[in-house]
């Protein structure tokens, strides 16, 4: 369904140097599949996810969506595809302030058409019921706990019945127990609706839930195999340079910056 082939992404910095974030990513995600991507902070995980979700475009390589190239899509078409096919869950929840929980979940349906548009409040309420927040519809998001806010975000990501859920460090702002509960919900709900789930994380326990695992380092994606989820000792070996579970990974070196036109 999603197919990245040798995708590169580089950006020109303010001082006119070119930063190569992704140097050749190849990834295939099939319908209903759960994939996890781990990697240090600043390795380009969010960039990769944004490309998958049509929020960003590759500099080079090919991204096929249902076998069709996404290169020549108009901005309008990209926006429509994004709304119809993808649901996003962000680390910092990204709920709309000043709107109730219900309005937040109904918001994506404002860009839908027909029945989905007109019955948006009912659909949103049903989705909130599913994530266990059926009694908080009229609350403002800032009255909710972090875990509850992320559940609202999950309901919002799923309310248009996307085929792919893109979760960018969904447990990054939550404590371990809450994170586990939220991930369980996300896994279950994605499985129920048959949506594929691409989760980006630097939490190994979160990654361990997925069927396939990749590690993003030096701008390329490397498949990794999980030795055993029951033996935490093997996890560090598995991710290699990622520090201990759940700890901050900030301060890691960013991708190399090389002069414009230089070799990657």
């Amino acid at each position: 369904m999603l197919e990245l082939t040798d995708v590169t992404r580089s950006v020109r910095l303010a001082d006119d140097r070119v930063l190569h974030i992704l140097t050749g990513v190849t990834l295939r995600v099939d319908a209903g599949e759960h994939v996890a991507v781990v990697g240090r902070s600043g390795t380009g995980k969010s960039t990769l996810l944004n490309i998958l979700g049509l929020l960003d475009s590759p500099t080079g390589g090919e991204y096929l969506l249902d076998g069709a190239s996404t290169r020549r899509l108009s901005g309008r078409r990209r926006a429509r595809l994004r709304g119809e096919s993808f649901g996003f869950v962000f680390q910092q929840f990204n709920l709309l302030t000043g709107r109730t929980v219900l309005e937040n979940v109904a918001a994506p349906l404002l860009y839908a058409r027909g029945r989905q548009f007109w019955s948006r409040n009912r659909l949103a309420a049903e989705m909130l019921e599913r994530v266990g927040l059926g009694d908080r519809l009229e609350d403002m998001p800032d009255r909710l706990s972090g875990g509850e806010q992320q559940r609202v975000a999950i309901a919002r990501a799923l309310v248009r019945r996307p085929r792919v859920i893109l979760a960018d460090e969904p447990t990054g702002a939550l404590d371990v127990d809450t994170g586990t509960a939220v991930m369980t919900l996300l896994d279950d709900i994605a499985r129920e609706s048959g949506a594929a789930l691409v989760t980006i994380t630097h939490d190994l326990a979160v990654a361990a839930r997925s069927g396939r695992h990749y590690r993003l380092a030096d701008g390329v994606l490397v498949p990794v195999t999980l030795v055993s989820p029951d033996r935490p000792g093997s996890l560090a070996e598995w991710v290699g340079d990622v520090p201990t579970l759940g700890a901050s990974t900030d301060g890691a070196p960013a991708p190399r910056a090389v002069p414009a036109g230089g070799a990657p």
């Binding site: 901005g75 309008r76 709107r99 860009y111």
Partner: protein, 400 residues
């Protein structure tokens, strides 16, 4: 369809979230629209009041007054009257009236009295906006009736010893022979102690020879009033002048044009209102712009989030623009409603010192202009944020 509704829902939600700030800046817009509509309406009413007041005295704005005097000695008043009637018929003037003064001998319960009164044609009532307090003014058919009809003042009714005109009071007028006249309408006395007076139709006076001539000076010839469309005034003026001179050799004929007055206040005050309202609108618009700029940071993130839901850049532009247009339009509607309520609640009669016969219609055009200005200011205030909103880079917006 769903796109437009969706954008409207979004705009409305956005306004709800920023209620207080939006409200404050919109007060200016609402006030401006109230001012534009309300003052235009008030000026319209004031002008109408002044016009009606003037017209009660000198006839409607575009009334030509024709007077004719015999230059040498005495002329035949009846011939002048006839010549005038001819002119009216020739040029098909819809509202025309001969206006003269007459003396009649009236048999009142206290004895016969010579009373003076006005001798006019039925159209005089329209030209001078006469609405009798009781009964009615003359109908065109009254001129053809066999028996004369009278519109009298209150003092006349008192002299007749009848309370009002509901009982169709009659009175005997002495002319070539006695004739029973019916009182069909009554007007209040113009001032306390006004003597009994009446208005009677020219045709009836002539038919019954009602005019008495106590001093033997001969009946004075009537004047002629012609209420005509403004555009016809110059042409008709000359024609009437020529025709009457031809029909009445040896007479002095004068055609007086109306003195244009009303409208001065209108145009001068309108400019002041427009300037002040424009200023208020501008301030309201700046207030909205200010809100947009203050909430920039929050908006960037929101726009990014909405883009992730599938909002196209067109939709984002339109949504942000619509936000302020919806806001100012709502303010505009509030302004119009306020103006309507205010005008309704104001005791216009007492303020203007006179009841209006023809209340000017509510200035719909002013209301629409106000609304259009409000929407325009909204669009202008929204344009900058909207242009800027479509340039928001989604990935930067949701990055944090």
């Amino acid at each position: 369809m769903t796109g437009l509704v969706g954008a409207l829902v979004e705009a409305w939600d956005e306004l709800r979230v920023h209620k207080l700030r939006v409200l404050l800046s919109l007060i200016g817009v609402a006030a401006a629209v109230t001012a534009i509509t309300g003052v235009t309406a008030a000026v319209g009413m004031l002008g109408q009041a002044m016009r009606e007041q003037t017209e009660r005295w000198s006839g409607r704005e575009t009334t030509l007054t024709v007077s004719a005097y015999p230059v040498t000695g005495s002329g035949d008043a009846a011939r002048a009257s006839e010549a005038m009637a001819d002119v009216v018929e020739r040029y098909s003037v819809a509202y025309a009236s001969r206006v003269g003064w007459g003396q009649m001998a009236v048999e009142l319960p206290g004895g016969t009295q010579i009373l003076s009164g006005q001798v006019v044609d039925p159209a005089y009532g329209v030209i001078h906006r006469i609405e009798p307090g009781q009964g009615r003014w003359f109908a065109p058919s009254d001129a053809d009736r066999l028996a004369p009809t009278l519109v009298v003042n209150q003092a006349f009714l008192d002299a007749l010893a009848v309370p009002d005109v509901s009982g169709h009071p009659t009175v005997v007028l002495q002319g070539r022979q006695g004739v029973l006249a019916e009182v069909v309408g009554a007007v209040p006395d113009q001032y306390p102690g006004e003597p009994p007076t009446y208005t009677v139709l020219t045709d009836q006076v002539e038919r019954w020879g009602l005019s008495v001539d106590p001093w033997g000076a001969g009946a004075s010839p009537p004047a002629l009033e012609l209420w005509v469309p403004p555009a016809d005034v110059p042409a008709l003026r000359d024609r009437v002048d020529q025709d009457l001179r031809a029909a009445l050799p040896g007479w002095q004929v004068d055609v007086t044009e109306p003195v244009g007055e009303a409208g001065v206040l209108d145009s001068a005050s309108r400019w002041v209102i427009i300037a002040v309202s424009g200023f208020a609108l501008l301030l309201g618009g700046l207030g909205l712009l200010n809100i947009a700029l203050v909430t920039v940071r929050q908006r960037i993130r929101e726009i990014g989030i909405r883009r992730s839901f599938g909002a196209t850049s067109g939709r984002v532009f339109f949504g942000v623009l619509l936000e302020s247009v919806v806001a100012t339009l709502v303010a505009g509607v509030v302004g119009v409603v306020l103006a309507v309520v205010a005008l309704d609640a104001l005791p216009v009669d007492r303020l203007l010192g006179t009841a209006l016969q023809d209340e000017p219609p509510f200035p719909v055009s002013a209301a629409l202009t106000g609304l259009a200005c409000a929407a325009g200011v909204g669009a202008l205030a929204g344009l900058l944020p909207a242009l800027w909103a479509v340039r928001v880079k989604v990935i930067d917006a949701i990055r944090y």
